[in-house]
């Protein structure tokens, strides 16, 4: 999917089954990249407008929740005359399939992209078994 297609298809979270936010602002599911390395699972989420202090990353059992709040600063003395995107908060949940060492999770926010490294626990890492020549 191209970047623009991803943006155009930005989904709004289904708020019904979920707990509703107190703020009336829309909540979006951020575009994410998830990849697996031998030692970790890495989650990258695009959350433009979210600062490092307003993001929450939670791992509850195998469920990873990411939530980011946008600091929507109004532009004083200006009115919105043309809009292609809507400003809102971000929220998503993932089920992590591998066993994670919860104490070693690292999360960083840079240029509106959240980067979470979930290190696999020792037993979940692949062990190479030497095959002996008979």
């Amino acid at each position: 999917m191209t970047a623009e297609a991803a943006l155009a298809e930005r989904q709004q979270t289904q708020q019904g089954a979920e707990v509703e936010a107190t703020r009336s602002r829309p909540t979006f599911v951020p575009c994410t990249n998830i990849y697996e390395r031998e030692d970790a699972i890495v989650v990258e989420a695009d959350m433009p407008g979210v600062g490092p202090d307003s993001v929450d990353v939670n791992l509850d059992g195998d469920e990873l929740t990411i939530a980011g709040q946008v600091a929507d600063v109004p532009i004083e003395g200006h009115e919105l005359s043309y809009a292609e995107y809507e400003v809102g908060d971000y929220r998503c949940k993932f089920r992590i399939s591998a066993a994670i060492d919860a104490d070693k999770i690292e999360a960083a926010m840079k240029n509106g992209v959240l980067h979470v490294v979930l290190p696999k626990s020792e037993e979940a890492r692949p062990h190479k078994i030497e095959v002996k020549a008979g």
């Binding site: 943006l7 990849y35 390395r37 031998e38």
Partner: protein, 146 residues
């Protein structure tokens, strides 16, 4: 019977219509085809008395990767991000965001003072303040009485 002459309700003038038309024309030239889907990056435009503020969501983009130029009333935003190094043995579970390069141009409804343009990239959101040039500001015409 009095004939009432009523002016045809004119279409409301939209200073941004040209802005959109230009982009549509550019897409036609460069073979993007007629699509209604939002271009990347999506922008919002805020109009003030003496300037316009353009905001764009550009997650993952470094300030050095951005190139903003103004030529007359044409504003161009270009981005050529550095190639990201991906290690071996990485398998994607999902890949929805790609921080790729792009180029997008707009025709502004007035000339801007190129020296006073301010660009700020914060938390992946670009805020571009484009002050209207002195020459393009509306002038009030004094009516002389004899």
């Amino acid at each position: 019977m009095a004939i009432q002459i009523r002016r045809r309700p004119s279409q409301q003038w939209d200073p941004w219509s040209e802005f959109r038309d230009f982009e549509r024309a550019m897409n036609r030239i460069f073979g993007e085809g007629p699509r209604m889907q939002v271009e990347y990056p999506a922008i919002n435009v805020w109009t003030g008395k003496d300037d316009v503020v353009l905001t764009a969501e550009l997650p993952g983009i470094e300030p050095d990767d951005l190139d903003i130029t103004v030529h007359g009333t044409m504003l161009t935003l270009r981005c050529s991000p550095k190639e990201q190094q991906r290690g071996d043995g990485e398998t994607y579970h999902r890949r929805e965001c790609r921080h790729e390069g792009f180029a997008r141009s707009w025709l502004l409804p007035f000339e801007v003072d190129a020296d006073k343009i301010e660009a700020k990239l914060e938390n992946g959101v670009l805020r571009l303040t484009l002050p209207r040039s002195e020459a393009s500001k509306p002038k009030k015409v004094e009516i002389q009485t004899t």
